[in-house]
Symmetry: C2
Subunit: 338 residues, 2 copies
Amino acid sequence: MGNDLNQTLGEELVVGLDAGGTRTRAVLAGADASGPLLGEGAAGPGNALTVPVPQLTDHLAEAVADAVPERLRGSVVSVVGGFAGATAASPDDPGHVNARSALTAALRRLGVPAGPVGICSDIEAAFAAAPGTPADGLALVAGTGAVAMRITDRHATATVDGDGWLLGDDGSGFWIGRAAVRAALRTADGRGPATVLAESVGRALGLPDEVVPSGRWTRAAREAYRMHLLPAVMAEPPIRLARFAPLVAEAAAAKDTVAQAVLDEAAGLLTETVRALEPNPGERIVATGGLLGPDGPLTPRLTTRLDALGLTLDWVADGSRGAVALACVAHLAHRGAG
Amino acid sequence: MGNDLNQTLGEELVVGLDAGGTRTRAVLAGADASGPLLGEGAAGPGNALTVPVPQLTDHLAEAVADAVPERLRGSVVSVVGGFAGATAASPDDPGHVNARSALTAALRRLGVPAGPVGICSDIEAAFAAAPGTPADGLALVAGTGAVAMRITDRHATATVDGDGWLLGDDGSGFWIGRAAVRAALRTADGRGPATVLAESVGRALGLPDEVVPSGRWTRAAREAYRMHLLPAVMAEPPIRLARFAPLVAEAAAAKDTVAQAVLDEAAGLLTETVRALEPNPGERIVATGGLLGPDGPLTPRLTTRLDALGLTLDWVADGSRGAVALACVAHLAHRGAG
C-alpha cells in the first residue's frame, strides 16, 4: 500500500469501522470510494451494548490508529462505524448513544478532525458493503446468531428473529451446535438414530476415551456417556455450544444423515426468517456470517431454497467496506449541502 | 389423626421422605404399611446435589420432627428418603453420599434410632408410590423437567432424557413455557400465526399496556413488543420460562390453535421419551409431575398416545408414600434376615 499512501497526501480520506462482538476493524479509503483500501487496523470487541464505553473507546482508537498513519489523520473528512448492539431503531437507544460517544472520543484522542460521526448497525454496514452500495433490500446474518432485516434507504425498517440463543436465532451457529449435542444425547438414550456426532461431540468436550463410543453401545455405555457429557456442557456458558457447528458441517460432508438433516432444517428456518420480510421476487439479499460464506455449510442449501423464491444471495465478509461506502455517501451529501 | 397416634404407642413405625427441588416432605406410618398415614411434615428444598449438606440436614430434621411426635421417635424402625439429585446409578455418586450423610445426621439429632437409612432417587420413590408398591415398570416425570426411567427390582436401570432445559427435557413445563414465548415472538415478527399467547405472555411479563397487542399489529407495534419482551425474559434465569406453561394450557382450553399445537407436540415428545425405554404392551407407567395430574394439561393427550401403544398411566402426587412403602419392604427384609 506504500505507493497508494504516498499519493494520498492532501487527498480527502474516509474511515469505515466494523465493530463486532469479537473484534473491531477499521479501514481507510479515498473519499471518492473508487480506489483500493489505503489502510487497515484491528482491535478487540466492539459491541456497543456489552463493551463498556471506556474500553470501546480504546478498541476503536487502536483500530483507527493502525489504519490511518499519523500524517494522514488531518485529511480524514468522514467516519462511519457499523456497531453490533446498535441495531435498535432510534439514535437515542443505548447502543447508538454508547457508540457515538466512544467513536467521538477515540477520534479526538487521535487528532482526527472528522465532523459528526455516522453510527449505524453492523448489519446496515454489511448491507452497504455489497457491490454498488445498495440502499434498499434485505440483509441476512447467519453466524453465531441469526437475524434478517429489511433495509430501506440504508436503514433497517423491519427485523425478524435475532431473538437470542434462548428464544430464537433459529438456524444459527448456536442452533446447529446445540442440535449436534442433542443428536448425540438422543443417540445415547435410544431416542435418536446413530450419528458420528456422538463421537465427535464427545471428543470435542474432552470426555475420557473409555466413555466415547466406537461401534455398538451397551446400555451401561450410554448411561456413562450421558453422565459425563451433561456436566461438561453445563460447566460452560450456553453460547459456547456454537463451537460444535463445524462438527455438523464435517459430519454432513461425510454423509452422516443426522448431520445432513440438521443443516437442512437450519437452512429451512433461515428461509422462513427471510420469507417473513415478505421479499419481492428478484430482490437482493446481502448475507454475512460464517454459515453463508463461499465455503459456508449452509450456502448451497440456502441458495437453492432462495432460488425457488426468485431471490439471490450476495455474501460480504464484514461491514468495514460498507462503512467506508456510507462515509463517502455522507461526505458527498455534506459537500452537496455546503 | 389423634386416635391413630394413641394406638401406635409401642407399634413399629416407618418414615418416608420425598426430598424435591422445592420442598421436603416426611410421612409417618405403621411398619405393616396397611394403615393410614400417622403424621406428616414439610420443610424447604431437598435436592441432594444442589442444597448444601448442613441445610439439607436442617430441612430433613424439620420435616421429620413435624411428622413424628417426640414420644414416638423411639418406635421408628426404618427410614427411606427419595431425593431429587440422587438419580445416578451408584451409591458412591455425590447425590447419594450427600443424602445419606444429611439424613443420618438429621435422625441422630432427633433421637430416631433407625438403623441404616435407605436412599433412593425421587423417581424410584414415586414409582413405589403406585398402588401395590410395584417393583418393575416405567416411571415418567413431567413437571418443570422431563425424564423417563425403567425401574427393575425397585432401581432405575435406564434413563431417557432428563437432559436439562438447555439440551433436553423435551415436552416439559420449561419446554412448553419457552414455546409460549417463541410463539409470541414469531407472531410479532411475522413468522408465526396469530395467537392469544402474544397477549398473555406480554401481560405475564409486565410489559407496558401500550406495547401489548390487542387486535391487528402495525409493523411499529411488532418491533416495540419484541424490544420490550426480549430484555424482560433475559433478565431472569432461563428456567423461569416454565411459569408460562399454564398460559399455554389456558389458551389451548380456549381453542387457540397455536397453544393446542404446542401441547400436542409436548405430548408427542414425552411419548417418544417413553418409547425409547422399549416398553412391553400392558406395562405399567407411573407418572408424576404437574403436567400429568388429574387436571394436568397433557393428561388426556398423553393418555391417548400411550393407549395406542397398549400402555396405561398411573399418576402419583409425590414419592413420600412410595418411600414409606420402601421403608416397610426394607424392614421386612431386615427382620427376615435377622
